[in-house]
């Protein structure tokens, strides 16, 4: 009897592998929205990795993005793809003896880098610590302080942002290689390749990465149209972003926005390979430390105490 049933067409057994193959194909066909006839959708869908694109492909992508942004935000964006300058390795210095915790840097960064205003995203977190403790205890720090005036008696302030590690854990864990370290030391993200898995956020010891839980919302007049593909161009919902040392400014020779706004001049920026740069002077003449040095991430963000 078993033989008879086997011979019947309806009882033809399917192997487990065959079933899974078919199911996967079927599901995949529903996942690709064939109904989308728009050519730019397919261009975006099949866009190559930033580092694999040649000049022509890059130009086409930038043209498409500028068109998309113009439609979406009604602002004409200028998206640069400036490459790293040869012989540069960016380093950052922050003078803890000067910082007064006024948060000007936080909002200058928001203005420059088109962060979402609602849901709110900040790339810089200013931590407040009690003076006179045994060490910098991050667990005991306060980031929601809001007194009438700063600096407050008995406290010091420590802004934290992406530390631009030389050995970045976030780059290692990214499954799509959407984040990587550029030759000038900036860890960048390709927002078109980020799938929003947030592994990088889990791996970052400094809590520097931020996630777009929803589509970023910014007032039209506050958008900064001078942008970089790897930097401050508007992000999508479901992608990760972080401080990129204002790549659109620094690769043009300018200082990052946070350096320029700081009312006390606590923030220093320069080329670590240039012996005459300010950052090299700090490292050679001041007592510098890096955050969580014991993790071997080799940050290029140096905290120091100038006086």
């Amino acid at each position: 009897m078993p033989k008879e049933i086997k011979g019947h067409n309806l009882s033809k057994s399917i192997s487990r592998r065959g079933f899974l193959k078919g199911a996967a194909l079927g599901l995949a066909s529903t996942a690709i929205p064939l109904g989308q006839a728009d050519a730019s959708f397919w261009e975006a869908y099949l866009q190559k990795h930033f580092r694999e694109m040649n000049e022509d492909e890059l130009r086409a992508v930038i043209k498409r993005l500028e068109k998309e942004y113009a439609e979406e935000y009604d602002v004409n964006f200028n998206i640069k793809t400036t490459k790293a300058m040869p012989g540069t390795l960016f380093g950052y210095g922050l003078d803890l003896s000067r910082c007064i915790g006024c948060r000007r840097c936080v909002y200058a960064c928001v203005r420059e880098n088109n962060q979402s205003r609602d849901p709110q995203i900040h790339w810089i977190t200013v931590l407040r610590f009690k003076k006179g403790e045994k060490w910098i205890d991050l667990e005991e720090s306060e980031k929601y302080y809001y007194p009438e005036a700063v600096p407050e008696e008995g406290y010091f302030y420590m802004p934290v942002q992406c530390q631009q590690c030389e050995n970045p854990p976030c780059v290692r864990v990214c499954p799509t290689q959407a984040t990587w370290k550029e030759p000038d030391g900036i860890v960048v993200i390709d927002y078109n390749w980020c799938i929003g898995c947030r592994y990088c956020m889990a791996s970052c010891p400094y809590g520097a990465r931020r996630f777009n839980l929803a589509k970023p919302r910014i007032r039209k007049e506050e958008l900064n149209p001078e942008s970089h593909y790897l930097g401050n161009r508007p992000r999508y919902a479901g992608v990760v972003e972080k401080c990129i040392f204002c790549v659109q400014r620094t690769r043009a020779g300018r200082y990052p926005a946070c350096v320029e706004i700081c009312p006390v001049g606590a923030r220093k920026f320069g080329n670590l390979l240039d012996p005459k740069s300010e950052i090299r002077y700090c490292i050679e003449n001041k007592r510098v430390f890096r955050l969580k040095e014991d993790l071997n991430t080799y940050p290029k963000f140096y905290y120091f105490f100038a006086t």
Binding site: I100, V110, D118, I261, D274
Partner: protein, 251 residues
């Protein structure tokens, strides 16, 4: 690096050049003596000195201290080429000679009847100091160093550097104070007095900008374009004017 204590007045220059000539004479005399006594030793010492000067970074740096100097800055004090915005004078106060030219100099410490606001705010070693310790009594449009050298208000950093030598050193290197401009090119320095009131230099406390939203308070809500929160920075630095390269708040 101890340039803050250097006297660059005309008279002092003459005396330093005399000194140098004297040292040169002395040196040549010394080497002559050495050659007479032990020529080979002198050659050895010379070679060692050359080697050390090449290897020791500090010595090498001192040798190649060819920093570009702005025309306004006299002397090779290690002050790099820079742009400074003009000093922040109160309106209508400068040139001081417009009033002081015809006035008799009174060096006595007393209550002032015109510069009352300055006297009221004065908090800068006020017990040891009086106006004419920094302001020049004979030519009021200049400042006066302890050495007697007169400097313009654009060079006031020399005056501050007389006491605050370590800060002056850091300022020259670009570490104390704010820098704008290009990180790899022309930098805009600020004078000490752009951030510190010279008569009351302690930095004034500021109102901080608002803290971030707590994670628990993040809610997705429908917003019309007008309801999107604006950047609180706009209240301090309005958007339209390019405030990004501007000076710190006007205090």
């Amino acid at each position: 690096m101890n340039s803050c204590n250097r006297n660059d007045g005309g008279n002092d220059r003459k005396s330093t050049s005399n000194n140098i000539e004297y040292i040169k004479q002395e040196r040549s005399g010394l080497s002559d003596m050495l050659i007479k006594q032990k020529g080979s030793l002198a050659v050895f010492v010379f070679i060692v000195a050359v080697l050390v000067s090449f290897m020791h970074p500090a010595v090498a740096a001192a040798g190649s201290n060819g920093v570009e100097v702005n025309g306004a800055n006299s002397g090779d004090d290690g002050i790099p080429e820079f742009f400074v915005p003009p000093p922040p004078f109160s309106e209508g106060i400068f040139p001081c000679s417009q009033c002081h030219a015809d006035m008799v100099v009174n060096k006595k410490r007393r209550k002032l009847y015109y510069h009352t606001n300055i006297q009221n705010m004065f908090k800068h070693a006020e017990k040891q100091r009086w106006c004419l310790d920094c302001h020049n009594p004979d030519d009021r449009d200049r400042l006066r160093l302890a050495s007697g050298r007169l400097i313009t208000f654009e060079e006031s950093y020399y005056l501050c550097g007389q006491c605050h030598g370590t800060i002056f050193r850091d300022w020259k290197a670009g570490v104390h104070g704010k820098r704008t401009g290009m990180w790899n090119g022309k930098k805009e320095y600020r004078l000490c007095v752009h951030c510190h009131n010279p008569h009351a230099p302690r930095f004034k406390p500021l109102k901080p900008l608002p803290p971030p939203i707590k994670p628990g308070d993040i809610k997705y809500r429908k917003l019309s374009p007008d309801e999107i929160p604006s950047n609180p920075l706009n209240k301090i630095f309005p958007l339209k004017t390019d405030s990004r390269s501007k000076n710190a708040e006007g205090n």
